[in-house]
Subunit: 336 residues, 2 copies
């Protein structure tokens, strides 16, 4: 199972074997990879040459000729945000069933790292890439010669799987309104993370139309600073009775701070998060949130990628999945 | 930046260039990689051959000869457990400063996947591996021809970075005892995850010696089932007034369930987790826990790996980092 590398081994290529056996490279490839017809005598001669030269097929070298390595590259923005490991789980489970292995890259929402991983994956002969990337150069990506599917983010020209952020933002606003909040604070994510910003825009539109008081607070999407944002929120807007958080990490921090300063959840202030990461269910009170079907999104992206790898025709290239409201104890019951 | 592949390109190797230029492969390599002396005339002849044959150095192909690719493979047991992304963060930040890129594999605590990733990484010419792996065949791993450092887990014969689990288990037990609990439930992790089991054994020893009533509940380490374990705990041991959880995920679930059934934290029951993942600080009440220096462990493993890659002598091969008690609101104050 483990291949011992010696410098001499590295020098022997499939072409040496072909030369030794007196056949073409393609023939050697077919024999070694058992991937097509080869006469019994030919097979024998090739295998003798393989043994004589101590040729060790290297998966990478093999794939240079056969291009059938079973590696997929997955680029995530931030593995410390539980939403992305959840996406990755969906991708991995699906691909594993199909015999592929997944290697991950963590891009920290940086364009340079994103493109660097695309390059690294290509250089290491992955057969497809799934990327949850933020700023994108769609022209550069469209020119990629290996199949790529975007996940959680979308670009016109590329196959993408994502969730209905606009529906999510609308839902959150509608739910907090119908449950009686009158002064609502939206904690919005960074403007350059477009899909998250869409949530804010959709929520804001609903609330503006309803004529309620709306406060806006800016936040990032990670654990770093979530606590500070929560403290800031109640200092700036002590009268707020409803909070829409850009994601569950921020939502949990807000639940914490509200209780710490003595507010009752949900009587004094309701909180709705976004994502439905595992922790939302485990905190007390449970965090009401907008469920993103992370696992299904990951699996769908994997399914589409395999179709592209197999050069099947795709009916759609954009797959938008619905979100839903998950009611827990951080929101009031209807009519209260 | 992006390399367009054509089949003809794949057929041209460094050996063709050497042949065309009338020099050795090593000479071509030195010229192309600018990695050693080459006479100006030689350089000229080689570059002419490169252009004539349209030779495109492939990072992988180059590394087959030069073995200087800057890729590190990192194997984690479960990226959906926030502790491991935190370890990864430490690894990545350190390696990035040194010019390396990290690709991840997620092993799900399965030996087969662990070994599969080791193999995949080797085949794709990573120059070193950091692995947080569980069951291990130390002989197989010791035979690996590329540098490997274990993280969070340890084997005699291999360089490892890990935290003092025994100290952690002891601390947790001492703290809950000195804060007044009389009937303590230890929620222990799976026996086959040795480092986690050590926590249990150390806690148990302290509690047994103190003569208090001790209950034991088995649990896994993930979000899956944490809620159910918590429910089961209070059904089986309704009088328990102190809980030591195998990790923070389980600790948070227990905090939740305790409050749901009307227990006051920490007056009726104290809870101590393990790890100090970000969420421990964000829940209400904050979860007291044993801090594992995840980031520092990751950075240390990266530092050692680079030393091994550069074939520097290692003074130690085992690095055990201390843990510490983080006091939050889920435990009582001393004297109460």
């Amino acid at each position: 199972m483990f291949h011992r590398w010696r410098l001499s081994d590295l020098a022997i290529t499939i072409r040496d074997v072909a030369k030794e056996a007196g056949v073409s490279v393609a023939t050697v490839s077919r024999v070694i990879n058992d991937s097509g017809y080869a006469h019994e005598d030919t097979r024998k001669v090739v295998l003798e040459a393989v043994n004589k030269l101590n040729y060790k097929p290297n998966e990478v070298a093999r794939s240079l000729f056969k291009r059938k390595s079973k590696l997929i590259g997955l680029i995530l923005p931030d593995i410390t945000n539980p939403f992305f490991p959840a996406l990755a789980r969906g991708v991995e489970d699906y691909l594993q069933k199909e015999g592929y292995r997944v290697i991950f890259g963590n891009s920290d929402e940086q364009l340079e790292k994103e493109m660097d991983y695309v390059d690294t994956f290509k250089q290491n002969n992955v057969v497809g890439i799934i990327a949850s990337i933020n700023e994108t150069d769609s022209e550069m990506l469209s020119e990629l010669s290996i199949p790529l599917v975007l996940l959680d983010r979308t670009i016109e020209a590329l196959p993408s799987v994502y969730a209905d952020q606009e529906q999510g933002g609308r839902l959150a606003a509608e739910k907090v309104l119908e449950r009686g909040s009158k002064e609502i604070t939206i904690v919005r994510g960074p403007k350059n993370v477009k899909n998250v910003y869409q949530r804010f825009e959709a929520s804001y539109e609903v609330l503006k139309e309803a004529g309620v008081k709306v406060n806006i607070l800016d936040s990032n999407l990670s654990f770093n600073g979530a606590k500070e944002r929560a403290i800031e929120l109640f200092q700036k807007y002590p009268q707020t009775d409803g909070v829409l958080a850009c994601n569950d990490i921020v939502g949990v921090a807000i639940l914490n701070e509200a209780q710490r300063i003595g507010k009752r959840i949900p009587e004094d202030v309701q909180v709705i998060g976004f994502d439905d990461i595992s922790i939302s269910e485990l905190v007390y009170p449970g965090l009401s949130t907008i469920h993103q079907p992370a696992y299904e999104m990951g699996a769908k992206a994997a399914e589409i990628l395999i179709k592209k790898i197999n050069q099947e025709k795709l009916l759609n290239i954009h797959y938008k999945l619905a979100v839903s409201f998950v009611e827990r104890k951080s929101t009031r019951k209807i009519g209260k």
